[in-house]
């Protein structure tokens, strides 16, 4: 048990800044889970007497144009950030991993699957997401799907690349020549080895999903405006930029901190990764 914990923490102990990333990530999860206990005010409560108040002892992050407490809204915003992150990562893994493995194990089918991935990758990410939003309509779930499709492609490619390398390993060949079937090979040899590279990919996807979701919210095409998401808060406070610049600061800072810390985590995990898989991962990209 202790050994497992040590193996898990090793990448972070080797690089202190990554430990900071991990700490911020855990803090964000904590904030999301216990938001109702942490916040001093109801994030939807309107106080017309305290409109556009700068940060004070009673309102730590100030208030917005309805007098709603920015700190409480920022904390509640972490809930949607977590939902978006988990949603996009799950979607990308649940679709991209089977597609990648299938393509590597059955090259004939694989050719078509990977060409389909190429076609999807020919669309600039946000345009693809916006096109899907037009078809599906606005909403949190649809935003997750629209961003998820973007990262399904990169996840499928990475899985495909790593699986191809694994398939050529001597022990996999040996297992196959001893009569192991494809399902056995995938479950016993491929999937366990995919865990590390996919963990790295998942942290980058989680980070970039935040930026994608914030862009959709900012354009008014993501989460409904009544949900306190960081992107929505930025969109609403945009017109008060000169009168109340702090309104833009805190939600934006949360987006940056979340994406930054997960990028740090991903980077630390990536550096500890088997060099053969690192190559298949390629450059983490925002879009």
């Amino acid at each position: 048990m202790r050994e497992t914990l040590h193996t898990l923490l090793a990448p972070f102990l080797a690089r202190r800044i990554a430990l900071l990333g991990l700490a911020i990530t855990l803090l964000m999860i904590f904030a999301a889970l216990f938001a109702p206990i942490i916040v001093p005010y109801d994030p939807l409560e309107i106080d017309s007497l305290a409109r556009l108040s700068p940060p004070t002892g009673t309102h730590w992050f100030g208030t917005d144009h309805f007098g709603r407490d920015t700190f409480s809204r920022v904390v509640f915003g972490s809930r949607l950030a977590l939902i978006i992150g988990i949603g996009v990562v799950s979607f990308a893994l649940l679709t991209g991993v089977p597609a990648g493995i299938l393509s590597a194990m059955f090259p004939r089918v694989g050719w078509f699957v990977m060409r389909a991935v190429d076609v999807l990758m020919a669309f600039p990410a946000l345009l693809l997401a916006l096109g899907l939003i037009v078809i599906l309509g606005q909403g949190v779930l649809n935003a997750i799907l629209a961003i998820g499709v973007v990262y399904l492609t990169t996840t499928a490619r990475i899985t495909y690349g790593v699986t191809l390398r694994l398939r050529a390993e001597v022990y996999v060949e040996a297992s196959r020549s001893l009569g192991a079937g494809t399902v056995w090979l995938v479950l016993k040899h491929i999937l366990p080895n995919l865990v590390s590279p996919l963990l790295v990919q998942a942290s980058f996807v989680f980070a970039f999903a935040q930026l994608g979701a914030a862009s959709l919210d900012f354009l008014g095409l993501g989460a409904p405006p009544d949900i306190p998401s960081w992107g929505n808060m930025l969109a609403e406070s945009r017109i008060y930029i000169t009168r109340a610049p702090w309104l833009l600061f805190f939600p934006g800072l949360m987006i940056v901190l979340t994406a930054f810390s997960l990028n740090l985590v991903g980077d630390a995990l990536r550096d500890r990764l088997d060099p053969r898989f690192r190559e298949a991962l390629g450059t983490p990209r925002r879009n």
Binding site: I17, R115, A116, D118, V119, A122, F123, P124, A125, L126, L127, L130, G131, I133, V134, I135, G137, A207, L211, A214, S215, F218, L219, G220, L221, L234, R238, I241, T242, P245, L248, G252, I255, V256, A259, F260, N263, L264, D267, T283, R285, R286, N287
Partner: protein
């Protein structure tokens, strides 16, 4: 060589053909009658009948696709519902802004990303390197619109040095001075992408610095800066050039948000406005053109490998 170019052209054409099917189907996937989608909700039955005749909506999807494709190939992308003018001319109106914005941004990315990445690599392991790498990671995590809003606040609202929004054409009054409208947007757009190029330049230079020929060059007594420029940098450039393909895709995506923040009359803002106006033919046209552009740039990047590094095997 020619065979390689032909093969790559073929692959790009296949991808484009498949993408065009998706873009064509787009109109049919939007909830509602595609004819009303194309004409807008205010269309009269006569207009709907006329369009049905013209596009052959009573015929099979395959026939409709080829009729649409043949129109597109002749430059007919359909009519904008909102402007009641051809889609291509609506997109053309935004082209100047977007092309200039992308070009200035690219200049920033190259001027900031590559030299700073070189400095970080040359001081590998030092505080300078760690600081610059950390900054790059931070910039890669920042939403472009947030940077843009703060640039507006500082340089337009507080200091009053630069305009906060809009862009009058360089062909109007003011001439080239109008380019100052694109200074802040291009900086906001460049920030995360320059960060990516910085990280790539650094990583790639560190990889090349380990090569035997670099050690040989040093052992021969060649001046250090000459080794860096001629032996390391030139070879590290290959990885950096390959990144410009997806940097362009990133620029297109982020320009949508940046142009909205700075109220620039470009193609990115046109997409957002067209979504809100339900002007689907325009969205369809913009997506098609960006896909063509993106595939074209990637093709050029692939082909440029051959010139940058003659050792690259072209299969």
């Amino acid at each position: 060589m020619w065979l390689y170019i032909l093969k790559r052209l073929g692959a790009a054409a296949t991808t484009l053909a498949a993408a065009s099917v998706i873009i064509f189907i787009f109109i049919h996937l939007i909830p509602g009658d595609p004819l009303y989608v194309l004409l807008g909700d205010g269309a009269t039955p006569d207009q709907v009948d006329a369009l049905r005749q013209k596009l052959g909506f009573d015929r099979s999807l395959a026939v409709q696709y080829f009729s649409w494709l043949s129109n597109v190939l002749q430059g007919d992308f359909g009519q904008s519902i909102f402007f009641q003018t051809p889609v291509l001319s609506v997109i053309g109106d935004g082209a100047e802004t977007s092309i200039l914005l992308a070009s200035i941004t690219m200049v920033w990315i190259i001027l900031l990303g590559i030299p700073v990445g070189m400095i970080a690599a040359m001081r590998h392991g030092s505080w300078t390197d760690q600081g610059l790498s950390g900054l790059a990671m931070l910039l890669a995590s920042v939403p472009t619109f947030w940077v843009g809003l703060y640039l507006i606040l500082i340089f337009a609202a507080w200091l009053g040095w630069l305009p906060s929004s809009g862009y009058p054409s360089i062909f109007d009054d003011g001439g080239l001075a109008n380019l100052q409208h694109l200074l802040l947007p291009s900086l906001a757009l460049a920030a995360p992408n320059a960060a990516l190029i910085l990280r790539l330049t650094r990583a790639s230079m560190l990889d090349v610095a380990r090569e035997d020929y670099v050690r040989t060059a040093r052992a021969k007594g060649i001046r250090p800066w000459r080794v860096v420029v001629r032996h390391i940098f030139r070879n590290a450039l290959l990885a950096v050039v390959s990144a410009f393909g997806f940097t362009l895709a990133a620029l297109i995506s982020e320009a949508v948000v940046t142009e909205t923040v700075f109220a620039l009359p470009g193609i990115g803002r046109l997409v957002v406005q067209s979504i809100l106006r339900r002007d689907y033919p325009v969205i369809q046209g913009v997506i098609l053109i960006t896909v063509v552009l993106y595939l074209g740039v990637n093709l050029c990047v692939d082909l440029s490998y051959r010139f940058l590094d003659p050792r690259v095997e072209l299969e």
